[in-house]
């Protein structure tokens, strides 16, 4: 059952439901991300499974009250497994008419809308581009609307603390948060502690008062027909934290450095939505982490390669146009066979595109965005928490195979959060590093017979002096060679080395039915596809889900798996990039299902597509 806010129960009796989607929406200045974050933490501590999806404008502060300025934060929480931030919010907290107008079309019919009526003036309607008051024109008839004089009530709550008018009004998001806590019967301790730690007097007090006043108001005036109770989910036992994809990447990098015993170097130039990796990593200096804010993405990549040569776990992170600038350095990394990791937090393209929106449209450039034949491994993370594991894996492969590795995440994973069961840090296996030290028989391009990787020989090592560069290398010696036959041999060796990575990858293993329709996903769409396939199977459709972590090389056994199913569907948040690739590799009639709206798939969209596909079988 979903939170449809059907009238009935009194405020004292809580209705038990198992799944809710709440969206907070307001101006960029209204603190919606912060409010959402607090609600998320409290929900996590309550023991629900959850997923979140922040959605904010490209402008720093778009004009107040306009559609362009609306910032949103969606949370899906449940007493069962959650894999997506939810298709349609059942509850919308709208801080002004623009927030209402921008989000209404997503709202579930019958859903609950809390609006701040203090912002429902003619001037506000005009700014939001509305003809009249939506509260009065019948356009909200399909919903349950709870009008609240948020500003006035907040003012009352914080009166006497000596706050100015602006400062007072800034507290209203806590009033709204308090109301929402009441609605879901939540303990406010976590947020109280956070406010105390975060704000100085008198703002700590003011925010606490607003929070409590909101909670009390909801209870006292019987604002809602019902309060809800979403019992904790049966998560696997363990210690949990909430984590976003960017956080998980950062922790993965720090862990990789510790587990390999090599210092971590990040070369980056700020760009949305990858910047937070640079920000968050720069606080881990106590781990010996060097973060280098370069003059541009080319310099970031060049410095990263230099650091790799120098023996660091060398990483560069970027998004969008930044990716286009790193191709030349990656090509040099391919030729010099040095280990580095490029983390591409994909965003809406092409060109500057939609900087704050999510997309999966960089698979092509990751695979093919270098001149000449320059093969490099590519993998993608599937959920915020999985970014941790994927990062560790990327570093491990880079070092083991002496190659640049491209790790794809996306805006949705980067900023979205989910509860993450903490790994046993001590149990994470070491990342073996074999530095060349013995001059006896040393050749810079002599290969390990198993992995075909060349030795990692750091400048500063006595007796291993050698020269590398971007010109074609002679086999073994690594000297410059213009010989055509050698070029062919080296090209095929570079290719073969990347293909050999597949040997250590787990075989492709679909979940679900052994025949029927196979839905193949990669990257951040994992959760939505997983959920849609599960629902489809419940609904009697024979189907299965195969999620690809590795895009290059593809996992072993994939050919057999794909051939086993009557139909293969590849949903992607792009114009179709993996689908054609699989067709190219396996010459099977694989179908693509694509969406490019800067938003993740909805489970319902996928389900509908699966149903259509299955009916055509």
């Amino acid at each position: 059952m979903h939170a449809d806010a059907s009238p009935g129960a009194s405020s004292s009796a809580r209705q038990v439901i198992d799944d809710v989607v709440v969206r907070f929406a307001g101006d960029s200045g209204d603190g919606m991300q912060l409010t959402g974050d607090q609600f998320t933490r409290t929900t996590a501590v309550h023991g629900n499974d959850l997923a979140t999806f922040p959605d904010f404008p490209a402008e720093i502060r778009a004009p107040a009250g306009t559609l362009a300025g609306v910032s949103g934060f969606q949370i899906h929480f449940s007493s069962h497994d959650v894999h997506t931030p939810g298709d349609e919010p059942g509850v919308l907290i709208a801080m002004n008419p623009a927030a209402l107008a921008a989000n209404l079309r997503d709202l579930k019919r019958g859903g609950l809308i809390i609006v701040n009526t203090d912002k429902f003036t003619d001037r506000d309607f005009e700014k939001a581009g509305l003809q009249g008051n939506p509260l009065e024109d019948g356009s909200l008839d399909a919903f349950t609307v709870v009008p609240v004089q948020l500003s006035v009530l907040t003012k009352g709550a914080v009166e006497g603390l000596g706050l100015g008018a602006k400062e007072t009004d800034r507290c209203k998001n806590f009033f709204a948060l308090g109301m929402t806590y009441w609605l879901f019967g939540r303990d406010m301790g976590q947020t109280e502690a956070w406010i105390k730690s975060k704000f100085k007097a008198p703002f700590d007090d003011a925010n606490l008062r607003a929070l409590h006043a909101g909670f009390a108001y909801a209870e006292t005036v019987e604002l809602f027909h019902a309060g809800y109770e979403i019992p904790p989910a049966r998560l696997a036992p363990g210690t949990y934290r909430n984590i976003t994809g960017n956080q998980a990447v950062v922790l993965g990098l720090v862990t990789a450095s510790q587990k390999s015993g090599r210092p971590l170097f990040l070369g980056a130039y700020p760009i949305t939505p990858a910047s937070d990796i640079l920000h968050m990593l720069s606080v881990y200096k106590d781990f010996g982490v060097v973060t280098f804010q370069a003059e541009d993405e080319i310099a970031a990549a060049g410095a990263t390669l230099g650091a790799a040569w120098g023996g660091a776990i060398a990483v560069t992170s970027t998004s969008g146009p930044g990716v286009a600038l790193k191709g030349e350095a990656l090509g040099l990394a391919v030729m010099t066979e040095l280990p580095m990791v490029l983390i591409d937090v994909q965003r809406g393209g092409p060109s500057t595109g939609l900087p704050t929106k999510t997309e999966q449209s960089d698979l092509h450039i990751a695979l093919y965005g270098r001149h000449g034949d320059a093969p490099a491994p590519v993998l993608a993370a599937r959920s915020p928490g999985d970014c941790f594991d994927a990062t560790l894996e990327a570093v491990r492969i880079a070092i083991q195979y002496m190659t640049p590795v491209i790790l794809l995440t996306d805006g949705y994973l980067a900023n979205g959060a989910e509860p993450w069961r903490l790994p046993d840090v001590d149990a994470i296996p070491a990342i073996p590093v074999h530095l060349a030290t013995d001059p006896e028989g040393f050749l810079p391009y002599k290969r390990d017979p198993e992995t075909l990787s060349r030795p990692w020989a750091l400048p500063g090592t006595p007796g291993l002096e050698h020269r590398i560069g971007g010109l074609e290398k002679a086999k073994d010696t690594g000297n410059v060679s213009y010989d055509g036959v050698n070029h062919e041999a080296m090209s095929r060796l570079r290719q073969e080395k990347i293909e050999r990575i597949a040997r250590s990858l787990p075989a492709a293993e679909p979940e679900g039915d052994p025949d029927g329709l196979l839905v193949v996903s990669w990257g951040g769409t994992y959760g939505a596809v997983h959920t849609a396939v599960a629902q489809a199977r419940k609904g009697g459709i024979r189907c299965a889900h195969l999620h690809l972590r590795w895009l290059n090389p593809l996992p072993p056994g994939l050919a057999e798996v794909l051939a086993r199913y009557g139909q293969v569907l590849v949903p992607e948040l792009n114009m179709g990039q993996l689908g054609p690739l699989l067709r190219a590799r396996f010459a099977l009639p694989i179908q693509s299902y694509t969406k490019i709206q800067g938003q993740p798939f909805k489970v319902s969209e996928l389900l509908a597509r699966i149903q259509i596909q299955a009916s055509q079988a």
């Binding site: 210092p263 200096k285 060049g302 002096e465 590398i468």
Partner: protein
Amino acid sequence: MSSVEDTPAYTKKDFMSDQTIKWCPGCGDYSILSQVQTVFAELGIPRHKFAIVSGIGCSSRFPYYMSTYGFHSIHGRAPTVATGLKLANPDLSVWVVTGDGDALSIGGNHFIHLLRRNVDLQVLMFNNRIYGLTKGQYSPTSESGKRTKSSPMGSVDRPFNPCGVALGADATFVARTVDIFVKEQRDVLLAAHQHKGSSFVEIWQNCSIFNDGAFKDWTEKKAREERILFVQHGQPLIYGAKDAQKGLVLQPNLTLKVIDVLTPEDRARVLVHDETNLVMATLLARMGDETMPTAMGVLYRVAHPVYEEGVHAQIEAARSKPGAADLKKAVYGGNTWKVEG
């Protein structure tokens, strides 16, 4: 750096690699190579602690001919690779070898940012005022009006003054020398090595194929005395033959003038080189029209914090805090909760 005892006594030969040198006959790169090999042997640094990073160009083939660590990287990007390397291992003696095209055309941005940051390494820019490797197009240091394959009616571009660009970018060490000036080049290379921070050395280099004789009006035996001023900190700006000395004086309108230095009074009027003064360096860097000599030697040298030291100092400070580098704490973060089995 390792202690002196570790360091073998080298000769120039110890820095010659086994690779056949592929520069053209008569190329000025040969004599620079020879000087660098000579100087490296004197620095007291073990061979394996040297790393030479270059871009692309004839000059950038340099690392192959040195028996040290070497990285022949991408056109224009050597400063970035060198910065990453130096940050990863500040213990290395890092030398960037680049050309006028590599450093100032495609690589101009990395060049100025390197100097601004003041990473402790040396940049040797072989300025032949031409693109050698791509067979003779004009470069950003070619004189206006130069006729080349890509400028059949003469180039319309104004050239950069490389030392001027470096000074504009707040370089902390700026020097100029010439491929065939053996002793003076050696002094400059030694000074560059000693300087803590980014040392920029412009080396005039003859391209015998595409720009032969570009510098001969200054470097031919006779011209040297008349057209070259070797500057030295604390010394008056005097040049010319012994019997016909000339000196530079500052005019009220903030320009330089050449005077004959005949009397002690004349001598007293002559400006004294102050390598810590940016205005002095600007004046010296930009001399060179017909009436003025060209300044050679260390034009500018000031002490400034070194980039990678600052970076690593922060790391050390962070490390020394109690509870530092606790991986479990980092991974767990501030807000955790338990789900019981």
